[in-house]
C-alpha cells in the first residue's frame, strides 16, 4: 500500500479527454435552472408590456391622458377619460407613508436583533418576523376593515371621518412590510465587520455610540436598500389595502381621506370588464405602470447596494 516515490517524469498527468469533460454539464444544467427565473420575468414583462400598451394603440387613448386627474371609464364611448394620476399618486402616497411608519420600527428591531437581543429574545423575534410574513394579506385586510377602520373613525373622527383612508392603508401596509425591511436591514447590519464594533467599544464608547457613529454609517447603503425593497412590496400589495382605503379615485391631498391605488384600481374592475374594452386595457396599463415602478425601484436598490459595497 505504501507508494514509493515515482521516478521523475513517469506516469504523466491526465489530460482532458472527451468533450463531456470540457463542457461542464452540471454547470450548464444549474445555469438553466437559474436562468428560468429570467425567462419567467421576461415572459411577464412581455405579457404585461403588450397588454399594458393596448390602451394607446387599440384604445386610441393619447399617452398624455394617463396623467389626467379624472378617471371616468364608465361614461358613454367618447366621453370616457382614463386619467391614472389618482392611482399613481395614491400608490406612491400609500407606500411612502407606510415606509415612514415601518422604517423606524423595522430598523430599530433589526438593530435590536443584531446588537442588543440576548439569544432568548432573538429566538422570539426572528420566528415572529416569519410568522408576520406568513399571515395572508386577506387576513390583514379584514382586520383592517373590521377593526382598524372602526377604531380610526370612532377615536379620531376629526382626522378620519370615514375611517377608510390613506392612513389606514399605510398602517396596514406598514405591518405587512415590517418583516421585509427588518430582515434585509438585519442582514445589512450583521455584515458590518465585528472588528469595527470591538474597535469602537475598545475605545470606551458606549454601545449606542458605536451603533450611531460606526454601525449605522457603515450599514447605511444596506438600510436604504431595505427600505426601498420594503416600499416595493408595499406597492404590489393588493387585497389588504383595497379593503381599507375607500377606493376614491381622486388625487390624494390628506392622509385622512379615502384614496385609490393602482392595485385596487385593478382588482375593482378587472373582473367586471372584458378584454376588448378600453377600460380593461386601462387596467393593464395600471399593471404596467406598477411593473415599471418596481423596475425603477429595484434598479435604485441595486445602485445604492453597489455603492454601499464600494465603501
Amino acid at each position: 500500500m505504501a507508494n514509493v516515490a515515482i521516478p521523475l517524469g513517469s506516469n504523466r498527468l491526465e489530460r482532458t479527454r472527451s468533450i463531456r469533460e470540457r463542457i461542464d454539464i452540471p454547470r450548464r444544467v444549474t445555469l438553466i435552472a437559474a436562468i428560468l427565473v429570467v425567462l419567467v420575468v421576461a415572459l411577464l414583462l412581455a405579457f404585461i408590456g403588450i397588454r399594458g400598451t393596448r390602451m394607446f394603440f387599440e384604445g386610441g387613448v393619447p399617452l398624455t391622458q394617463i396623467f389626467s386627474a379624472t378617471w371616468d371609464p364608465g361614461a358613454d364611448p367618447g366621453q370616457q377619460t382614463f386619467g391614472l394620476l389618482p392611482f399613481i399618486l395614491g400608490t406612491i402616497g400609500v407606500m411612502v407613508v407606510a415606509a415612514i411608519i415601518a422604517a423606524p420600527l423595522s430598523i430599530g428591531l433589526a438593530i435590536f436583533m443584531s446588537e442588543i437581543a440576548p439569544d432568548w429574545a432573538r429566538n422570539i423575534t426572528r420566528p415572529a418576523m416569519e410568522v408576520f410574513v406568513g399571515i395572508p394579506s386577506v387576513v390583514y385586510g379584514f382586520l383592517g376593515a373590521n377593526v382598524l377602520v372602526d377604531v380610526l373613525r370612532s377615536n379620531f373622527h376629526q382626522q378620519f371621518p370615514l375611517g377608510y383612508s390613506w392612513f389606514a392603508g399605510s398602517l396596514v401596509l406598514s405591518i405587512m412590510i415590517l418583516p421585509t425591511i427588518t430582515s434585509i436591514a438585519y442582514d445589512a447590519l450583521i455584515t458590518v465587520p465585528g472588528e469595527l464594533r470591538t474597535g469602537s467599544l475598545a475605545l470606551g464608547t458606549t454601545r449606542w455610540q458605536m451603533i450611531r457613529h460606526i454601525l449605522l454609517p457603515a450599514a447605511r447603503a444596506g438600510l436604504m436598500t431595505a427600505v426601498i425593497l420594503g416600499m416595493l412590496r408595499a406597492a404590489g400589495e393588493a387585497l389588504a389595502v383595497q379593503m381599507v382605503i375607500g377606493n376614491r379615485a381622486i388625487v390624494p391631498t390628506g392622509i385622512g381621506q379615502p384614496i385609490i391605488t393602482l392595485t385596487s384600481g385593478i382588482t375593482l374592475d378587472m373582473g367586471n370588464t372584458t378584454d376588448n374594452q378600453v377600460w380593461n386595457m386601462a387596467l393593464w396599463t395600471m399593471g404596467l405602470i406598477l411593473l415599471l415602478m418596481s423596475l425603477t425601484f429595484v434598479f435604485l436598490a441595486r445602485r445604492i447596494g453597489r455603492r454601499g459595497a464600494a465603501i
Binding site: D24, P26, R27, T30, L31, I32, A33, A34, I35, L36, V37, V40, V41, L43, L44, F47, L105, G108, L109, F112, M113, A117, T125, P127, E130, V131, G134, I135, P136, S137, V138, V139, F142, L143, L178, T205, T206, W208, Q209, R212, L229, L232, R233, A235, G236, E237, A238, L239, L262, T263, I266, T267, L290, L291, S294, L295, F297, V298, A301, R302
Partner: protein
C-alpha cells in the same frame, strides 16, 4: 460620561420597547383570531365539509391548501435548489448573474394580482380551466426566486474549507457539491422551504383567477385519479384554498352574517396557527438535521 451612559440606557430601552411592541402586535393579531374562534375551532371544522347554511368545516379547503403547497414545492424545490447551486458555486459577477438577481428581486415585487391574471391568460388555458396545477404554477412564479435565494444562502453558508478539503483530495467540483456541500446545506434549505410555505399558504390574489374561488362540495378522497378533475388528487381539480375561501366568504358568500364572520375568523386562525406550526417545526427539523449532518 454620565450623559453618554444615560443616552446608552435610553437607546437600549427604546430598542427593547420597539421589539416588545412589534412582538405584541403579532401576539395581538394571533390572539384576536384564536379567541374569536375558540367556539368553532375543532376537528369537525378542520376536516368537515363547508356548508351554505351552517358553520360547517373547511376540510376540502385545508386539503387544497396543502395540495397546492406540495405541488408548488415539487416544482420549485428542485429547480430552486439547482438555481441556488449555480448562483452559489458557479456564478461569477457578470451580466447573467446580474440579470438573474435582478429578476429574482423584481418578481418578488410584482403584485400578485398581476401574476394571477398572467396565470389566467396562460396556465388556465393550458391546464383547461381553474385547476390546482394552474394555481401551483402561478405560485411557483413567486416561490421559485425565493427558493433559489434560500438554497443559495444555505449553500454559501457552508464553510469554504469543506470545499477546499474535498477538492484537495482530487474530487471534482460536482462531486464536492453533491457529496459535501449539499449534505451540509440541507438543514438550511429544508428550514427555508418550510418557512416559504407560510407565504404560499397565505397567497390569495394570485389564486382567485387560477385555482378558482368556488366553495367545493364534499371531496371523495377514496377516488384516486391524476387526470379526472373530479378526483381531489388530480392536479386538474379546482382547488380553492383556505385564504381564497376566507376572501370569498367575506366578500360574496351568502352565509348569514354571524356564521360568515365565525367561519372567516376560524379559518384565519387555522391559517395563522398552521404558519406558526410550520415555523416551529422548521426550526426543530432544522436543528435535528443539523445534528444528524454534523454527527457530533
Amino acid at each position: 460620561m454620565n450623559r453618554t451612559l444615560n443616552a446608552d440606557r435610553i437607546a437600549t430601552g427604546v430598542l427593547w420597547a420597539i421589539a416588545v411592541f412589534v412582538v405584541a402586535i403579532l401576539l395581538a393579531i394571533i390572539l384576536n383570531f384564536v379567541l374569536k374562534s375558540l367556539g368553532t375551532l375543532n376537528l369537525s371544522f378542520l376536516f368537515g365539509d363547508p356548508s351554505d347554511s351552517a358553520v360547517g368545516g373547511i376540510g376540502p379547503l385545508f386539503f387544497n391548501s396543502i395540495y397546492l403547497l406540495v405541488v408548488t414545492l415539487l416544482i420549485t424545490v428542485p429547480l430552486g435548489t439547482l438555481g441556488g447551486i449555480y448562483m452559489a458555486e458557479y456564478a461569477h459577477e457578470g451580466r447573467v448573474t446580474n440579470a438573474i438577481r435582478f429578476s429574482q428581486e423584481l418578481i418578488s415585487s410584482v403584485p400578485s394580482i398581476v401574476v394571477g391574471l398572467f396565470g389566467l391568460a396562460l396556465f388556465v388555458r393550458a391546464t383547461g380551466g381553474y385547476t390546482a396545477l394552474a394555481g401551483a404554477l402561478a405560485l411557483a412564479v413567486f416561490n421559485l426566486p425565493l427558493m433559489s435565494r434560500l438554497a443559495e444562502q444555505a449553500i454559501r453558508a457552508v464553510p469554504d474549507d469543506e470545499r477546499a478539503a474535498s477538492l484537495a483530495l482530487g474530487a471534482t467540483k460536482w462531486q464536492t457539491i453533491t457529496r459535501v456541500v449539499l449534505p451540509i446545506a440541507i438543514p438550511g434549505i429544508v428550514t427555508g422551504i418550510i418557512l416559504t410555505a407560510g407565504r404560499i399558504f397565505g397567497e390569495a390574489a394570485a389564486l382567485i383567477f387560477t385555482a378558482g374561488s368556488s366553495t367545493p362540495t364534499h371531496f371523495d378522497y377514496g377516488y384516486f385519479s391524476l387526470t379526472d378533475p373530479r378526483s381531489p388528487w388530480s392536479p386538474f381539480h379546482t382547488a380553492t384554498t383556505m385564504s381564497v375561501y376566507i376572501w370569498h366568504i367575506n366578500s360574496e358568500s351568502i352565509l348569514p352574517d354571524s356564521i360568515r364572520i365565525a367561519v372567516a375568523n376560524t379559518a384565519s386562525a387555522v391559517l395563522i396557527i398552521t404558519v406558526l406550526v410550520f415555523n416551529l417545526g422548521a426550526r426543530g427539523l432544522g436543528r435535528a438535521l443539523q445534528k444528524r449532518v454534523t454527527g457530533a
